[in-house]
Subunit: 574 residues, 2 copies
């Protein structure tokens, strides 16, 4: 039997992984990667850290952990894989099993026959169709060429002001890179009303927004960019609300899968360009596999096909494709969209879907916000962690989880544990409630925040904990509805709040509730307040028992409201 | 209907949790906690941090996160729960549903009737039956009284030298507390051949041992303590190998569940004292619940009853008992033994069972060691993480996982994610291989270490990766067997090894293998070596293809061998 010929289109993340896996399983296979670019096999997710200077040299993004540059010679000698760069795949002949490629230097075309073809064609940065989007100085951040150009411009001192369009993960990372390391006056403009809107509930996004602002980045949410103009070499970004001048405009509003080659070959491709694959990552032609940023996959929570362009998924999918091509059997069942980002001092992570997304998908979601120390509360390095959990009321399945905190690894670790539960299809509340988070005071609490979040969600579903979300409460406060807020903390904690809010704010410490029932405000609109929403929940239960009346517990309490900066709250002693 | 009377024996961790949960679900219930001690509701796991001084005041261990001391008045006013301290439960009359208690101050006995009784009687520190175990200055670390006494002795300057018997988690934590903060000359003596033997494979334990030693703690493993003698006020610990003088001897060799009260009442109790409960945490009497350190529960990996005395489990179990007593339905299905400890600069965590335990339980386990950066390898704060994964060959179920690294939260987060998989019963290799660890360069790699560990284990099971464990390799080297080690790293990396090991050590960089096949040593005993075991695996596959011969890949490579300090290896440039 002659050796397998495997041809891979695209050599950034998935392609190299497929190539190496095939060769390890079947060292005799003939593997060829073609890529239209000259840069291959690089860590694209490292680009913001190259711009910031954390990664000093672009070569580091193309190197192995043992400092070898992954260039065509590396693949030839170390991996026994042939690579042709600056070579564009232009057509697939599925009948003859041949790929047509064009050398971008010489213009020469060639037909290459394959036994297995792998499409790793990636994605293209989206460009909103607005005036001025193609002006010099308006750039996307999609590959190393862009990255080098941006950094060159910055390091030459040509960028005093920058505007980033889009408050997604890359927008936030690049904002930090520009503002923190280079001291560039940086503005983010986001169409949607909050930061990281695809990943975070609005109050969680608000925490990130405030943190960006506290670190000198200006953030305008809910603003449309209408056009970009050029004025004597300086750019001007016109939004629905204002004009912002800039030396550099970075467009970071997502990417579109590159499915043209597949579509032209008659493979099933979504209207948005995502190549459709089965769980072995075969396209509708069994000899052609696809993976990485050019495919769509079932979302494990919604069951719908989604486009999830992440280098981590590409790597895992690459191994699955390699195994299958080498004659093994491996599957990739879908994605849950786990995500993480570092924004200045905060670690931010999420998995699954948001509350609004859950409603759109026909779930009956319940949302809880929990604030708790990430270590034992008596351990010196503890920091508060802010978590949102979204659960389906009927099935009690966890639909999504989000966390923010200063110990970033702790934040990401919690989300990964919840993601693991969801990914098995066993992610119900009772499982999360008893999830065995390894306990030791320097790294966790006896009742960890993930357990506490599950317990709170269960209490809400059971009707025990009647809640109002922090942003809803702030809205009530601002609209000056006929509220009474019962603050069950100590008088010292409550004092400045009473000074600010006057008669609206009533203080009865929780331990005095049963002796002072007559002072509990007699109103339809009672809100109960403490530092985190925990004592106020217990107080709510006691008030219901003692007085027969009820109220709403403000989720996340003072901690959440302060961290979001929704309203300026007076300092207290906590 | 009259109000429920709930009586709880023991008021440290589980008891208070039951009490509060019952009261939140059923505020009218009458709840009484009795405890023979005067200290109640404290974080016992914080004791090492109180001794070290990280926690300055013993009150902090008894306080809520909002700084209220959890004393009987707190329980009365905040929780509406009655507490009687210094009150010992002496007998249960199951027919009349009455508990007999004795006031330890007055000696007065009383019978208290209950509808539901909860046993939270905890555990007693084990004392090995050796001469001198009761001498003054020989102490256990089991409660706040011990803690206060130990810290008093230390802060009075009475302790220059200390011996800790037992290298379990508490032994390691206390060693750090004594040596680091107080500068006490500290020795750990452990009966078994390695540190943290219940939780870690020997080479992983060796990493911890070396780290303790690097931080000034002397560790003797595989040594029995035979007796302790007193000599002019100074103690002397006689082990199988030596005599060690000490001002303080701390015995930390585990705990025994306190099941006497239950056994005397005719409930099912194991010979070791563990109270047997069902998954709703009822004892064999449906009106009597038990939880925390006094019970045994099924291990979710082995199915066997185990005793797992952890404050975190007690808290989760407390909620389950509270729900059930209040008329709800909650279950606690078992434990997987997730564990974490901070030892000086290292975070250490594990879940499931060890390789040897797996063999004893009749599994056919495969063990892999993987070393990889905990962030993207190009990200500045990355640290190497050392992971062991134990997998059943037949079912491909994950039986256990262990990790060590300097970013402790990152270590614990990885183990928690694997534990979540195991806990659902869905913890197979293919699930872990594709586990969606949230990816961003500051917190994880595109192919995270947990995925890499699963992939490596799969490659071993498939017979692709033929391995030798680091400790076995070191043994071979020491026994000077007729080995050839093929180092596939760069000549600069290999040079000092060749200088040390001479002809045994052959260097062919991986990228030159296919051009230098004639230099590949022709021996039965070929070992292949690189920095982490990754390149050497690929090299092994290439050698098999190129020469038809084979060898064994040294798991964990240079990184693992250096970190264990098994043998003194020369410095290289990596």
């Amino acid at each position: 039997m002659r050796e397998k010929r495997v041809v891979i289109v695209g050599a950034v993340a998935l392609g190299p992984k497929v190539a190496c896996r095939v060769k390890r399983l079947d060292p005799g296979a003939k593997v060829l990667m073609v890529d239209q670019d000259e840069f291959i096999s690089y860590g694209g997710c490292g680009i913001p850290y190259f711009i910031s200077g954390d990664v000093s040299d672009v070569q580091e993004l193309m190197s192995t952990s043992f400092h070898m540059v992954r260039n065509p010679e590396f693949f030839r000698d170390v991996k026994d894989v042939e690579v042709r760069t600056k070579t564009k795949a232009t057509a697939i002949d599925r009948n003859s099993k041949e790929l047509t490629v064009k050398n971008l230097d010489t213009g020469k075309e060639e037909r290459i026959s394959y036994d297995y073809l792998v499409l790793a064609t990636g994605a293209t940065p989206r460009k909103p169709p607005i005036e001025g989007i193609d002006l010099p100085g308006v750039m996307t951040i999609s590959n190393l060429h862009d990255a080098v150009k941006i950094k060159e411009k910055i390091s030459k001192g040509q960028v005093g002001k920058a505007v980033i369009i889009g408050a997604g993960p890359i927008g936030c990372e690049v904002a930090e890179a520009l503002a923190d390391l280079w001291g560039i006056e940086t503005v983010i403009v986001e169409l949607l009303p909050s930061v990281l809107p695809a990943f975070l509930e609005p109050p969680m996004g608000q925490i990130v927004k405030k943190h960006l602002e506290d670190n000198g980045v200006t953030v305008y949410t809910g603003e449309t960019v209408e056009k970009i103009t050029s004025n004597n070499g300086s750019l001007e970004v016109h939004t629905s609300n204002r004009k912002i001048s800039a030396d550099l405009v970075l467009v970071s509003v997502g990417v579109t899968p590159r499915g043209e080659l597949a579509r032209d070959a008659g493979l099933l491709v979504t209207p948005q360009g995502g190549i459709v694959v089965n769980n072995r990552l075969q396209t509708t032609d069994p000899w052609i596999y696809a993976g990485g940023d050019c495919i769509v996959l079932p979302h494990l929570v919604t069951g719908k096909l989604v486009h999830m362009p992440l280098g981590s998924l590409a790597n895992r999918q690459g191994r699955v494709i390699g195994t299958n091509i080498a004659g093994g059997y491996a599957t990739f069942d879908g994605v849950i969209g786990s995500f993480a980002v570092k924004v200045f001092e905060l670690g931010v992570a999420s998995t699954g879907i948001t509350f609004n997304r859950a409603k759109e998908e026909g779930f009956d979601p319940v949302r809880t916000y929990v604030v708790q120390a990430d270590r034992a509360h008596f351990y010196p390095t503890q920091e508060l962690m802010y978590m949102a959990l979204i659960v389906d009321r009927k099935t009690r399945k966890i639909l999504g989880a989000q966390a923010i905190g200063k110990n970033g690894d702790a934040v990401v670790g919690r989300i990964n544990a919840i993601a693991a539960l969801i990914q098995t299809g066993q992610g119900t509340l009772d499982k999360l409630s008893n999830l065995e988070i390894a306990y030791t005071p320097p790294f966790s609490s006896a009742m960890d925040i993930v357990n506490a979040a599950a317990n709170t969600a269960e209490n809400i579903i059971e009707g025990l904990n009647k809640t109002i979300d922090p942003d809803e409460f702030v809205e009530e406060l601002e609209e000056n509805k006929n509220l009474k807020v019962l603050d069950v903390r100590s008088p010292a904690n409550a004092k400045p709040f009473i000074e600010k809010f006057g008669e609206l704010w009533v203080n009865i410490p929780q331990e005095q509730l049963k002796y002072r029932t007559n002072e509990i405000p007699d109103t339809e609109n009672l809100r109960i307040f403490c530092n985190s929403g925990l004592r106020s929940y217990e107080a709510l239960r006691q008030i219901e028992y003692l007085t027969g009346k009820s109220g709403l517990n403000i989720q996340g309490g003072a901690a959440m409201i302060k961290m979001t900066g929704f309203i300026e709250l007076p300092q207290d002693e906590n």
